[in-house]
């Protein structure tokens, strides 16, 4: 379990994926490629994403759960796919805010 709070950063232990939390939801079992993610800079990559959790992450995409309580942003892409408490996180719809500066 990790504390999912805005600004926290995590890394995968089975691929190159790194994320930053945009919207958090407290204690969550956050996984990438089926393996628990750890605080960025504290782990190394060992092994490969599990079957069924290897769709990959895309740089700069936001991933959220169905309830919309979790939003995390991929700051480095990788081969594993993200899940929170067993629920696969999917790419959130792009923002349509116009440029203001």
């Amino acid at each position: 379990m990790v504390d999912l709070k805005a600004g926290a950063r995590f890394q995968s232990t089975v691929c190159t994926t790194e994320v930053i939390v945009v919207k958090g939801a407290g204690e969550v079992d956050l996984t990438c490629g089926g393996a628990a993610m750890v605080a960025a800079g504290t782990g190394s990559i060992d092994g490969a994403p599990a079957d069924g959790a290897a769709d990959g992450t895309q740089l700069g995409k936001r991933y959220s759960n169905e309830a919309g309580t979790i939003e995390i942003l991929a700051t480095k892409a990788g081969d594993g796919s993200l899940a929170a408490d067993g629920e696969a996180l999917v790419i959130a719809q792009a923002k349509t805010l116009p440029a203001s500066d």
């Binding site: 950063r9 960025a40 740089l59 480095k76 116009p98 440029a99 203001s100 500066d101």
Partner: protein, 507 residues
């Protein structure tokens, strides 16, 4: 969180795309990343506390903004047009620093012992200053509370204060408002605000994250702006109201041909005269207009009026929709806005009070005074205004500018809006001057076109729309209103200039 995370993502996602400069000779994101690393080596090896920029726009702006973030020192852009004494006072408050500067300011800044100066050309030729070690990819500090940028407020109402913007504020703003690589390969944004304006900082960050090429116009001049739009294939731009006023006039001088290439034009940083935005909507007939409201202390934009509202207001016969052109729109997602009375009580829709904001991008902190956020995280903007029944925010101006006549608080904005609704009035400022009987009386300083109306005609117009206390005691016509170089109206100057029209203070 660190601003470098944004550049690292851009360099890894679109390393070969041009980040800043013209499409063929500019710096790519990968090159900008390398230059930022070099600058970080200079800062770390010299052991300074700040990275000062005292110069107009150049490639040094994004290099320093990201390089200082990498090194872990604040980026401090100073107003290079300040008189010598003021500049030295501000620079002296920064601490030890490397200052990148132009020739004029080189000697002035070198007189401060703690400041090492380097001329812009030398910095761009070798951002590292000969150092080859001291910063490696990924070794920037990730503490979200580190200070990223120190910006001096414009000081239109007193001594400039340094606003503190931490990495968490600016990164939250970008992640909350910009889609990574959201810009197409052919998009380019024209940055004509100076580096020491919050919009100049925000433009670097949002453009890099969106993947939109930055084109810099160091000295704003309306014809140069129009020429740059055409020569550089500019699709986006942000301007302050005084700039748009001059661009509109310049386009009219050129025969009033519409500019079609600009896809998006945002404006902010002061009150836009209604005649100017109405003419701009005609001269940029297919452009998406955005009115952005924000403060230095809120990491730029907190509310915006979008493209659709602009066009609806332009073509609608319905007064509520037309009035939206005077609004700054709705708060951004993640930003809360409240209107409160003098006792801090929340006011309902339609009632005028102080504007308070809350959100992750809201810094609300000064080096000199500490944090101004209350226990619940609300920041008092010191602007007054109201929110209408549909959630649109109307800003009426600084609380300091309120005119108090006979105990009645009057917003200059409402008087100015009515004056500017006259077809021959291009701009107007209402100020209070000392008055023995009433405390203050209203003076309207107006800019008219070739056929200036009689003062009595303006008085009648204001009397027909507002309470009689709002009718100016004096109306003065001038060629131009005084603004500072980032387009803020200098009411203080007007109050001093026209104080003689009152009959002195009550004491």
């Amino acid at each position: 969180m660190n601003l470098m995370m944004l550049l690292e993502m851009a360099a890894s996602g679109l390393g070969d795309r041009t980040a800043v400069g013209s499409k063929t000779t500019g710096l790519t994101y990968a090159q900008l990343f390398d230059r930022a690393q070099a600058a970080a080596r200079r800062y770390r090896n010299s052991g300074v506390e700040a990275a000062v920029l005292c110069d107009e726009s150049s490639h040094a702006v994004p290099i320093m903004l990201f390089g200082s973030a990498w090194a872990g020192v604040p980026y401090v852009p100073l107003n290079y047009r300040l008189p010598s004494d003021d500049l030295l006072t501000l620079a002296g408050r920064v601490g030890s620093a490397v200052a990148v500067t132009d020739e004029t300011n080189l000697d002035r800044l070198a007189s401060i012992d703690a400041v090492t100066t380097v001329q812009q050309g030398d910095f761009l030729a070798d951002p590292a200053g000969g150092h080859t070690i001291g910063a490696e990819p990924g070794d920037w500090n990730m503490d979200p509370d580190d200070v990223a940028v120190l910006l001096f407020t414009s000081g239109t109402t007193g001594t400039p204060k340094s606003a503190v913007l931490r990495h968490k504020h600016l990164v939250s703003y970008i992640l909350g408002t910009v889609e990574f690589m959201g810009a197409g390969e052919d998009e380019a944004t024209l940055v004509s605000v100076p580096p020491y304006h919050i919009a100049g900082v925000a433009a670097m960050l949002s453009s890099v994250y969106a993947g939109r090429r930055i084109v810099q116009l160091p000295r704003f001049e309306p014809h140069a702006w129009i020429d740059a739009v055409e020569a550089e294939g500019v699709t986006h731009a942000m301007v302050v109201p005084t700039m748009l006023t001059r661009i509109v006039d310049a386009l009219d001088e050129r025969g009033g041909e519409p500019l079609l290439g600009v896809q998006a034009l945002s404006y902010g940083g002061g009150k836009m005269p209604r005649p100017v935005i109405e003419r701009a909507l005609e001269l940029f007939p297919i452009t998406n207009f955005v009115n952005a409201y924000g403060l230095t202390e809120t990491s730029s934009t907190i509310a915006l009026l979008g493209p659709d509202e602009h066009r609806i207001a332009q073509y609608s016969d319905e007064s509520t929709e037309r009035a939206r052109l005077g609004s700054v729109g709705r708060p951004l997602p993640g930003i809360e806005v409240a209107i409160r009375d003098d006792d801090g009580i929340d006011l309902p829709a339609g009632e005028v009070g102080g504007i308070f904001v809350r959100g992750e991008q809201v810094a609300g902190e000064y080096r000199e005074k500490g944090s101004l956020l209350d226990a619940d995280g609300w920041f008092p903007t010191r602007d007054g205004g109201y929110i209408d029944a549909d959630g649109f925010l109307f800003v009426q101006g600084r609380n300091d500018d309120v005119i108090i006549r006979g105990g009645e608080n009057m917003s200059p904005g409402e008087i100015e809006d009515v004056a500017m609704s006259h077809p021959n009035i291009r701009n107007a400022a209402a100020i209070g001057v000392p008055d023995r009987e009433w405390g203050e009386q209203v003076v309207l300083v107006a800019v008219a076109d070739a056929t200036a109306p009689e003062a009595a005609e303006l008085e009648d117009l204001i009397r027909s729309r507002l309470r009689s206390s709002r009718v100016p005691a004096h109306i003065v016509f001038v060629d131009e209103l005084p603004h500072n170089d980032t387009g803020k109206l200098l009411r203080r100057v007007l109050r001093e200039q026209y104080a003689h029209l009152g009959d002195g203070p009550a004491d």
